[in-house]
């Protein structure tokens, strides 16, 4: 089945899968966003325990999606993996440390004799929420703004700046996406609290903070998108594979791919619907779904803008012809075919995740559950 497809179709198929994983990752960062709000929304120890526990039952999904996103990128576009990870060393290391701290923080937080005290582990969660979102957003923004690297004829890459990725965080356009992701994660975190915790105080406080986080999210998101539509982009000549700068490239991509345009608009509407609906309606608990689906569609379409329509998805500002495209950085036809068969498991995976999510979130968390002797509590 997949073996009969052309290499280009398989490359596009895998770019779609990677984009979908990236989009799901940003949605699942509601866990990170929520982690930065534990003390803002939880005013008593019990409220904080409920918040930590409702996030703690989902953190592994975010973590697993990040690992799978990385693994899928490695398998399908290994030249990106070797170039970006081996070059932007400090950005990836900072992201890595942020996630290492998160992985133990939930389990260790409430354990007696945990060496450093609960506050330390809650600080780990805060660091993860802050750095994880901003840095991943910043790293993804380099798909549009470029990085200073070169690739030789043996496909060995070299970073050309001593700062090894830290420079990405000083680029205002990159930073605008980093901060947009940060505030979006907080908005999603608040919506998730409203959906999954049965506590009126938490609900009211979360709803109030939607405004404080929704406004900066919109400001940074619009800054990023408008800037993106107006800037020169990294285009690829389909005949010669030569990379060149094209004015308004990403705007051109958007209008050249109507389906992506529709997905993008639907996504933005979805995010706004969940956000505004939850602010306006006093009893709305379902905003997470509208904003969540909207987030997935928006981020998915942004990834497609970066990789499709003869565009370099990982451009080099040092040497344009070293820029990576889905054609020149991918795995072989055989490997992509093999991986494509493995990807048939994805709907099945979504199916059981959905089933388990429903089973576990059927009843929102409340104080009684936290005091129950039969429940594992973080």
């Amino acid at each position: 089945m997949f073996g009969d497809l052309s290499h280009l179709v398989l490359q596009q198929y895998w770019w779609i899968i990677v984009s979908l994983l990236g989009a799901l990752l940003v949605f699942l960062m509601f866990v990170q966003g929520g982690q930065t709000l534990i003390y803002t929304i939880g005013k008593t120890p019990m409220q904080r325990t409920m918040l930590v526990n409702t996030l703690g039952r989902k953190w592994e999904f975010t973590f697993t999606t990040l690992v799978t996103f990385g693994g899928a990128f490695f398998a399908s576009f290994p030249l990106f993996y070797s170039t970006s990870f081996g070059g932007a060393y400090w950005v990836w290391m900072a992201i890595l440390f942020a996630f290492v701290l998160q992985a133990i923080a939930y389990e260790f937080r409430s354990r007696p004799n945990n060496a450093f005290g609960s506050r330390t582990y809650e600080t780990f969660l805060l660091i993860n929420g802050l750095l994880g979102t901003i840095l991943i957003g910043t790293a993804v923004a380099t798909f549009f703004t470029g990085s200073a690297f070169s690739v030789n004829d043996m496909n060995q890459s070299q970073w050309e700046l001593k700062s090894h990725g830290l420079e990405a965080a000083l680029n205002l356009h990159n930073l605008s996406l980093g901060l947009a992701v940060f505030f979006l994660a907080r908005v999603l975190g608040l919506l998730y609290f409203m959906n999954s915790v049965n506590d009126q105080d938490i609900f009211v406080r979360a709803r109030k903070h939607l405004v404080y986080n929704g406004v900066p999210f919109l400001v940074f998101f619009l800054t990023f998108v408008i800037w993106l539509m107006l800037r020169d982009g990294f285009a690829v000549n389909p005949q010669t594979q030569e990379v060149f700068m094209e004015p308004f490239k990403y705007w051109h991509n958007l209008v050249s791919m109507p389906l992506v345009f529709i997905l993008f608009v639907l996504g933005v509407v979805g995010v706004l619907l969940g956000l505004v609906g939850s602010i306006v309606r006093q009893d709305c608990t379902k905003g997470i779904w509208a904003s969540g689906i909207g987030t997935v569609l928006t981020v998915f379409s942004l990834f497609l803008l970066a990789g499709f329509n003869n565009t370099s998805f990982y451009p080099s500002t040092f040497d344009l012809q070293s820029s990576l495209t889905i054609k020149n950085s991918s795995s072989s036809h055989f490997t992509l075919t093999t991986m494509s068969y493995a990807s048939l498991m994805v709907p099945f995976v979504f199916g059981y995740i959905w089933y388990v999510w429903k089973a576990m979130n059927n009843k929102p968390i409340d104080e009684d559950e936290m005091k129950s002797d039969d429940v594992h509590v973080y």
Binding site: T68, A75, Y81, S82, M93, E107, D153, H164, S331, A359
Partner: protein
């Protein structure tokens, strides 16, 4: 040749990877085995409805959770480091190596992380049978995850199912089933996972013995011991069988590692196996090592090494010197010759790249070489050796000895692993026998032995890692890529900083983990509750 290599960068990168891999491997074996032990316990609970079994299940599940968290935390580092610290490697073999990592994420990691949530938080929220299913799926997910990682690792030790593409300058997968089902992958998976089962069984038997010594929770301890000791004993048999297969595979595919494991300098027929040995002083000159390196003491089993490696007592087992210097009688090519052939393969690739777009005829001629199976088998196969080339013949001879792994470390690690493996099996047998005779509770010697075997299980597990990873040095991909060409081009100081950051983080995490574990164990099993 070596003047272009930043050895400090290579060594710090190796140190960082070794640190993170070994720290990760402290926690993973317990996860692999304990997940099944818990699943057995919960199955009995669901079958019998006896609340004591639920109490037992939840106690071990609590320890599983603490251990699992730190295993997850350290696992992600390895995935990142393939890119951050070994970027040339990531490109050179990413076409093959990345696939198992991605499949692991899709197939195993999601299963594990989805159902572990049900396992911990689903009590009372889902039916007993659904909960039990989730517990089993968590165990299956954890072990499937190990499968894909070990397939990837086995491929590095025995690269099969691929072909080099000179256009992209990388190895590309040509047969997925060869990668998945190579004898190296099968034996590595079986041996490594069963070693995890044995470690987990030792852990449960040891902790339960402590409760018996303290005369606390006796019923809990007895039941835990029975489940763990049976599981451990069966796993020990599988461990020995798979270890035997693994050793034979190493003898065939990595003869230098095999020789290092036994410190066999001079090859021989009817080679004896050193059961126990202690080194004397090593000679400074590599050309004279072995011949005058005396063991301070050693106990040998006659003919056993030949039999172990080739199932024939008269079989010739090549020694380190045979492999480095060559042995015509036994048709073993010298490392010097391999270096020359590898160098020619590298030069051919360079010429091919230079001819592209300049000399079409030459370009096609050189391209054809990489499609010629005879040339690939005789030259490209030794591609990595080419990095040890030196125009000075004397230096080239010396460089050949640099393709030898640390001998004493490989030897000791292998023997510690084997001796302790035997000890674990014996322990399970004794514990089961005494339990059957209802005399375990009163036998303090055995109970203390079981308790103090816990650290030994970790030592054996780490030794196994050392045998596998140190024994294959300097290869990151056997015969094709040495560590020195696999590293990312970054500043040594950057790697030094992250190395120490990881060290500080790991020490802090280990302190927290051990303190929490000890406290939870001292608290003992309770109905429900999390403290």
């Amino acid at each position: 040749m070596f003047e272009n290599i930043d050895w400090a960068l290579v060594n710090w990168s190796r140190a960082q990877f070794a640190l993170t891999a070994m720290f990760h491997w402290l926690f993973v074996p317990l996860t692999l085995g304990l997940s099944f032990i818990i699943a057995f316990m919960e199955t009995i609970y669901v079958k019998t409805g006896d609340p004591e079994w639920k109490r037992i299940t939840k106690f071990w599940m609590k320890l599983f959770g603490i251990n699992f968290a730190i295993g997850v935390a350290t696992g992600i580092i390895l995935e990142f480091e393939f890119g951050t610290n070994w970027s040339n490697y990531s490109w050179f073999v990413g076409d093959i190596f990345g696939a198992p990592l991605a499949i692991e994420g899709i197939m195993a990691f999601f299963m594990e992380s989805t159902f572990i949530a049900v396992m911990f938080f689903g009590w009372g929220k889902v039916s007993k049978r659904f909960h039990l299913t989730a517990t089993w799926l968590t165990a299956v997910g954890a072990n499937l995850s190990a499968l894909w990682i070990l397939v990837a690792n086995a491929w590095m030790q025995n690269p099969v199912g691929m072909k080099f593409n000179p256009e992209t300058a990388r190895n590309e997968m040509h047969n997925f089933w060869d990668v998945l089902l190579s004898p190296s992958a099968v034996s590595k998976f079986l041996h490594t996972t069963t070693s995890g089962y044995v470690l987990a069984a030792v852990f449960v038997v040891g902790i339960s013995s402590w409760f018996m010594l303290k005369k606390r929770h006796i019923l809990f301890a007895k039941r835990s011991i029975v489940i763990a000791a049976i599981f451990g004993f069966v796993s020990s048999i599988m461990l020995i069988a798979s270890g035997d297969g693994s050793a034979r595979d190493v003898a065939k595919t990595q003869p230098m590692k095999f020789a290092a494991m036994e410190s066999l300098y001079e090859g021989q027929t009817q080679a004896p196996l050193i059961a126990i040995g202690l080194f004397g002083k090593e000679h400074d000159d590599p050309m004279h090592r072995g011949s005058d390196q005396e063991f301070l003491m050693k106990i040998e089993i006659p003919n056993m090494l030949s039999y172990l490696a080739f199932l024939e007592v008269d079989a010739f087992v090549p020694g380190i010197k045979d492999l480095v210097l060559g042995n015509e009688q036994h048709n073993i090519m010298s490392y010097k010759e391999k270096i020359l052939r590898g160098y020619e393969a590298q030069q051919t690739l360079r010429a091919f790249k230079d001819a592209k777009g300049v000399d079409e005829l030459e370009y096609q001629r050189l391209k054809a070489k990489f499609d010629d199976e005879v040339w690939v088998e005789n030259y490209f196969r030794y591609f990595g050796y080419g990095n040890y080339y030196d125009p000075n013949p004397e230096q080239l001879e010396l460089n050949a000895f640099k393709i030898v792994p640390p001998i004493s470390l490989s030897f000791y690690a292998f023997h510690i692993m084997v001796v302790l493996g035997g000890h674990f099996m014996l322990l399970f047998m004794v514990v089961l026998w005494l339990t059957y005779r209802k005399k375990l509770e009163s036998n303090k010697v055995v109970l203390y032995t079981a308790l103090w075997t816990i650290p030994l299980a970790y030592i054996a597990s780490q030794s196994g890692w050392i045998v596998a990873e140190v024994g294959r040095q300097p290869w990151v991909i056997q015969d094709l890529m040495p560590t020195m060409t696999a590293v990312s081009k970054i500043d040594t100081s950057s790697v030094m900083i992250t190395f120490w950051l990881f060290t500080i983080t790991f020490v802090a995490l280990a302190v927290a983990e051990v303190r929490i574990m000890v406290k939870q164990i001292k608290n003992g099993p309770k109905e429900g509750g999390h403290n």
